[in-house]
Every structure is written in structure tokens, then in C-alpha cells.
Amino acid sequence: MPPKPAEKFLLLFLKSELVEEVLGDLDEKFYRTIEKKSERRAKLNYWYQVFNYLRPFAFKFFKSNSIIPTMISHNFKISYRILLKNKLFSAINIGGLAMGMIVTILIGLWINDELSFNTYHKNYDQIVQVLRKNTELDGSISVNSSLVGQVGVFMKETYPAVFDQVGMTFFRSRAQLLSVGKQSFDKIGYFFQPDGPEMLSLEMMSGDIHGIDDRSSILLSQSLAKTFFGDNNPIGEVVNLNLQTDLKVAGVYKDIPNNSEFANATFMASMDLIYNEQNPYAWDNYNIRVYATLKDGVDLNEASNLIKNIMTPHRDSEDGPMELFLLPMKDWHLNAEFEDGIQVTSKRMLFVRLYATIGVFVLLLAFINFMNLNTARFQNRGKEVGIRKTVGSLRSQLITQFLAESTLYALASFILSIVIVWLILPWFNGISDKTLGIPWSNFTFWLTGILFTLLSAILAGSYPALFLSSFKPLNALSGTLKQGIASVRLRQGLVIFQFTISILLMIGTITVFNQIQHAKSRPVGYNQEDLITVRGRSDEFYEKYDVLRAELKRTGMVEEMAAANYPLMNTLGNNGGFSLRETGERIAFSFNTIFVSPEYGATTQWELIEGRDFSRDRDEVANVIISESAVKRMGLSNPIGSVLQSKWEFKGRKEFTVIGVVKDMIKGSPYEEPYPLMVFPTTWAMSFLFIRLNPEMGYVEALQKIQETFEATLPGHPFNYEFVDNEYSTKFRSEEKIGSLATFFSFLAILISCLGLFGLSAFVVEQRTKEIGIRKVLGASVPTLWKLLSKDFTVLVIISSALAIPAASFFLNIWLESYEYRIEITWWMYALAAASGFFIALLTVSYHSIRASIGNPIEALRSE
């Protein structure tokens, strides 16, 4: 007897009309095999034959070989025709979903870029930066990356088994003047120890990665080499540094991509140029950044512990303790913020999360839209379902039809969104300061995209597919079909959700812009207009200060000129260790200490509140001017005449008398509390020059004259100037970036929500066409009808506002708390956002309701 299980299995899938003949054939084969071979072989063969019937033609579920592709192509053909029939709704549907996808793709690319920061460097897993943790006298703990140069030297010499390479560079990478022949440019670059380039795994286009082992050599980035030498071979050419040192080009490396800590490195030169046998690294000058690579198998924490106390023997016992530790490269970009010495979630990381949330929400909005519009649209297709069922359509066929439709829409959206992303990426890169591109050849990208598309198709199509296909044909045809109250409630809920998100984003945008505006209009304590700054490079520049000043003033284009040892744009020069002579009390905070020429006040036009300004005609060596916040924090009621004692000597003195108080100058971040300022007068040479232009003269003429005079006085010194107000405005860039991105996202969110509302209102109006006709015939006026039709939606928007406002105040307060100088969120911001949300929604809905209200009632009644 043939094996029963095999027979059962066969019957499981075999088409019923084939059963008789197949079983017969297999039996014959079975008995024939027993005759020829053995029963065991026959049974085995039976199984083999059964498995060989696993072919499409014999399967129950297939009517025939070719019906499946036909059905599918039929489904898509119908879908395509329906898409064309309702052009407006198709456009809203596809456009809305595409917008959501655009936002998600952009945010996805952005986040991917952030997360892959620094991965360009091959030693990504091994590179660490040395940081220090200081415990101040008042108990506060600060973390800083500026270190003394000896730390690096010590690490390399003492722990060769732990650190493979040690690279040191300056703490602040200032632009350096590079010149070849007559061309000269201010370029940011790094002075590195010989290990640097290899540690960063620079990709050499030509020359030697060890080039800067020789201190008279320089490595150029590909783009800088091109700027200087065009297509000629740059190797061996000479580049002059800061008008002083000639360096030989030893190599050219591929530009470091934007998402690297070292992206701005246009050149690398040897640190030995500055620190060498004559001028060794110090134990007390915190102006160096120290990087290292760990040897394979070295544990980060162990290495961190090894170097923890390097600084202890070299510090005053009076100063608080200092510990060193290592920060791995993967943490540099997104995890490098510390509070009280403990790693905390950084602002950047918060942004990554924020954008991820926005992306998810905007996509959700688009999904909801897609679903809402689809279900509304399918509602009008009850008749179609009825007819299809009457002529014999199976429920599964209807489901396939509806799913095919939503798949077609979703695919169209995906394609559209890719095209648009491709078109707007340059613009997006501009506002987000990135160099993103569509990863055309990235498999994961496409897979995710397609999966998302199919998911949205299924989500959006499933409701109509399952719900509509369940209709009884008679109900569907006789028009007694009504969607339950549940589905109406669901749709209203979705609209509320959409508008809540939109209003939330709107409030956010308004707040961000207000905060930026608030900081921008903050008084800076001096006059930025008509003020330019020039950085001196050569010794000659310092020597000729007086001549230059006299010459420039003589042109009539310059009101005043001054010099300082630090620019107006940062708070470099930090010194603590001061005390008040009267009380002998040590001042717990440190000052921003700068040295200026006596004309500094007249040039910057700072605002003197008390006392007097410096004067060139007096002996001012022992005098200082301090800022308002310094006075406040020291608690002085009568600051003029107070004497400050210093632990260290400043220009040979330790005691200084306060002769003036000025308004706080905002030199650091415009969002922070002002840093107490202490200004020392000097007539020594200093490298930052400030020139106040005569406001009565035109810029162009003035600058031209100044340049002529400058070049005549200092031949060979480039006149590279910067307007102070321009420089200052760069401080707002990162916030402005956030602002533009927030605007972009909320704009899209609102647009998506409005599209949804637009579509929904159209359907509601369409469904009530007859009602409107009858009402009109009975004498309803246009405003009454408009009110009737718009009321439902506007109620939803009001509910949304009520939900959005508390959520917004919660999130925005968290954001604002990260700024010391900030706005308060006021009621009008909420009101403005809610009102605009309401207005936009009303406008959207009104289009259809007004159109229906003013239409001819006869046509309304005659419809269908």
C-alpha cells in the first residue's frame, strides 16, 4: 500500500480536479516499482513523486498558471484610472505623503551624518583626546581640553606600551597667513607633532605622510594645493607662513570630509616650528590639545587611570586638584559635554533626538493624512463594492484591489520624494551646514525606503480594505451604508493630533526666532558699526603702530585706531587669583583680562558709566578699568579707587587701581551672562588692530584709502580686514540654523495637516451636497451655510491648541534653560500660534464650504 502520510500531504495542496488521475498514476508507479525493485524503494519513490507535484499548475490556490499576474495588472490598471479620475485628491494624497517622506529622508540623512562623525579616520576606535577635570576653590568642577604641552611629551615617553602615537596641536586653531608669490590667504590649519597626520590617517594624494617630520615642510590639503598651484605638481614648492618662514610642500592630502573634527584643516605643519629645543613645551601654559592613539588591546579606563595624576606634581597646592582623563573619539562630537565633571547629554545629542522626534512625527502626520483621505475617499466607493460583490467578486479580491491602490499611491510618493530631496539637498545643506548627498548605491537606504513605502501602503490601505470589503452588497447598493460613529471619531482624533503637532511646531519656531532676535538686539556695550579689525602678522606691524595710527588719522577716513592683545569676538585671556586690598578677600571668580592701547575706549566707543577712560598722556601702568558685572559680582558700592591685588605680575605690577567702570562688553557667547572684564592699558605692541571709520565717508572710499595708507606704511603686509558687526553675527549661526530648520519642518507639518484638512473637508462637503441644496432652497444664507460647514473643523483646531500649549511650554522651557540670556515665553506667542493655526484651518475648510454654499442649489439637488 502506498504510504498514507504522503497521500495525505498530496491531498493537502493538490487541486481537486486532479486528484483522481494523479493518485491513479502514482499508484501504478508504486506497484510497478515494487515489481521491479522493492517495497521500500517504492515507498521512497512515492514520496519523491508527491514532492514533484509541488508545482504551480497543481496547486489548489491558483486557478490557473496565468491568472495571478493578470489580476495584479488589472488591479493596478483600475487603481491608475481611479488616480487619474480624482486628480486633485490623488495629488493631495501623493503630495502629502511625499512631503512626510521628504522630511524623514532629510532628517535621516542628517542624523546619519551626525552619528558617523569622525568615522573617516581609520583609527576611529583608537583615537582619544586628553581632557582635564579641575576642581575649583569654590567646589565647582570644570572640564577643559586645553592642556600643557608637557603632558603629551610625558605620555609618549613614559607609556610607550599604552599610547601608540601622540599628536599635539594648538588649543585654538587660528587662521594663518599662507603665501605663494603674490597670492596670500588666511587659512586654518594645524601645527601638529610628527605623529599627527598618520594618527588621523590622512589620505595622501602625493608626497609623504611623514613629511612634517622635517620642520621646514608643510602638507597641504588637495583644495589648498589647487588654489595655490592649480594643476601643477606642488611637491617641493615653497609656501611662506606668516610672512616669516618658508616651508617646502612635502605632500598633498585628500580634503578631510565635513563630518570630521579636523575638517577645517587646510594644511598641516610641524609643531616643532614653535616648540623645539630652544623653546620646549611648558608645564604651566594651557594652550595645547593632546590627542593619542591607544595600542591594540589597551583598555580605555586603564589608560585613563594611568594618566590621571600626571599634573599633580606640577601644580601649586593652593590650586584645586586636577585630574586628567581620556575621551574616545566616538564621544567627541555628540557626547562631549560635562556638568560637574560628569558626562551629560550634549546639546548636539539633544538636537539629534529632537530632529529624530520631529521626523517621526511629521512622517506620522503624513501617514495619518494618507489614511484619513483614503478612508474618506473609499467611503464613496460603497456602490462600487456592492456591484463588484454582486457580480461575484470575492472579498480577498476586493482587499487586493484596495491594497494595490494604496501601494500605487505610496510608491508614487516615494519616487516623488526622492526626486524632490535630490533637488532641495543643496539648499538643505546650506541651512544645515552639511554636505549631504543621496546614497544612491546604498542598499540599506533603498531597503528602508521601500519597506517604509510598503508599510505606509499597508497601513493606509488596510482599513478600507478590511472595512469596505466586509459590506453586504445589498446595503452597499441601496445606499443605507453609513460609516459608524467610531470611524468619524477616529478621523477627528487624527485631525486633532495633526494640528496639535503643527501648532506645537509653530510655537517652537516663534520662540526660537524670538530668542535669536532677543540675543541679537542685546546691547553689546560698544559700537559695532563702522568698526573694522585687522590682525597683525609681522614684527614690523608692531613697531610701526604709532606711524600707522598717525597716517591713517591723517587721511580723514579714520576717526580713531587702537590695538589689543585679543580680538573683540572671544573671551580669551582668563585670569583668577585676584583679591581686594581693602578686605584682603580673595575674589572667587576669574576675569577676562585684556591689554589695550589707551585709545581702545575711544575706538570701540564703549560706554563709560563711572570714572574716566585711559589717556595716553598719563602714566596709567597701575590703573585698570573694569566692567559693570565685575563690580556687581565683587559687591563694590564705590568701585572707583578700589585697589585689586593680583597673585601674578601683569607688566611688572601686582596692584591696580580701578579708574573706570564700563558697561559689559559682550565678547563671548551672546547667550551667556557677561564675563567680568578687566582692562589693562599698555603701549606695548599688540596684534589686534581696531579702526573706527569716519561715518561721514562712504565705506568703499574709506577702505580704499585705508588700504593704500596701510600698504604704503607696511609694505608686504596684507590688509585683510573684517567688519566687527559681521564677525559678531557669525555667533548666531548655529541658532539661526536651528531656526531655519525649525521653520522648514513646521512649515511642512502645517502644509501636510492642511492638505489633510482640505481633502477631508472636500469629502464632507461632497457628502452633504443634497443637504446644502435643500437648505438653500429653504432660504439659508451663504454665511449660515459657511458657518455650518466650517464649524466642525474649527472646533477640532481649538481642541488642538488647548493640547499644544502646555506641551509647548514644557519643551520650550527645557530648551530655553540652556541659555543664560533668554526670553520668557509669553502668552502672545501661544496666542499667535494658535490663532494662525485656527486661521489656516479655517481658510482651508472655507474653500470648499464657501464653494458649496454659493453654488446653484438645483445642481446640488440634481447630483448623482
Binding site: D25, D27, R55, F57, S66
Partner: protein
């Protein structure tokens, strides 16, 4: 959209149907195929091909007689249609034509160029 060409395996099966005449049902055809070509084949493969050829219109089928060794079940007997006949002829003509153009065969004897 109906396919009207004959594949190699299909052509062989079609010929076997012609050879077996009244006895042309899946099991017999499979057996005949194995004995003629010395190649193993499953009944399912033959059956699937038969139904495909039938779709192309080269075969018709009808349920035939039952027999005891089949457990009293009937068998499906396949018959070549006129179109099937024609398809076989075209295929043969095409091949003959090609063979005739083959220089080694053109004069009716093998010539491997040895001289």
C-alpha cells in the same frame, strides 16, 4: 498572451503522446520517457508539462478507463490536436532545413574535415 512555441522537453513529451496513442497518460509517458531517453523524470514534471502544452492548445485530454492496479481510478488520456501536429511538423522542418545547410551533412554523409 498564449505562448505558442515548443520547448525541447515539451517537443519530446508531445512526440511520446503521439507514440503511445490510446495509452498516453502521465504515468505511461513518464515511464516511456525514462526507457527511451535513459533519463529519470518525475510524473509531476511530466504532468506539469502536459498541462502546459494543453494550455497552448497542442493537446486535448479526456478521462479514460479505470483499472484495478490504479485502485479503480480513471486516467487522463492525452491526444495531439491538429495544432500540435502542425507544431511538431514545423519544428521538424526547421531542424531538417538547418541540418541540410550544415556543410558536413549537406551531401548526406558525415564529414569531419579529416579528408
Amino acid at each position: 498572451m498564449k505562448e505558442s512555441k515548443l520547448g525541447d522537453f515539451e517537443e519530446t513529451i508531445l512526440l511520446l503522446v503521439g507514440i503511445l496513442g490510446e495509452d498516453a497518460y502521465a504515468f505511461k509517458i513518464a515511464e516511456e520517457f525514462e526507457s527511451q531517453t535513459k533519463r529519470p523524470v518525475s510524473i509531476g514534471a511530466v504532468h506539469s508539462t502536459l498541462s502546459r502544452i494543453e494550455d497552448k492548445g497542442f493537446l486535448t485530454s479526456a478521462m479514460g478507463a479505470a483499472s484495478a492496479e490504479r485502485g479503480g481510478r480513471r486516467k487522463r488520456i492525452y491526444t495531439i490536436t491538429a495544432a500540435g501536429q502542425r507544431a511538431l511538423e514545423i519544428s521538424r522542418e526547421l531542424k531538417m532545413n538547418l541540418w541540410n545547410q550544415f556543410p558536413a551533412f549537406a551531401d548526406g554523409k558525415l564529414n569531419f574535415g579529416i579528408g
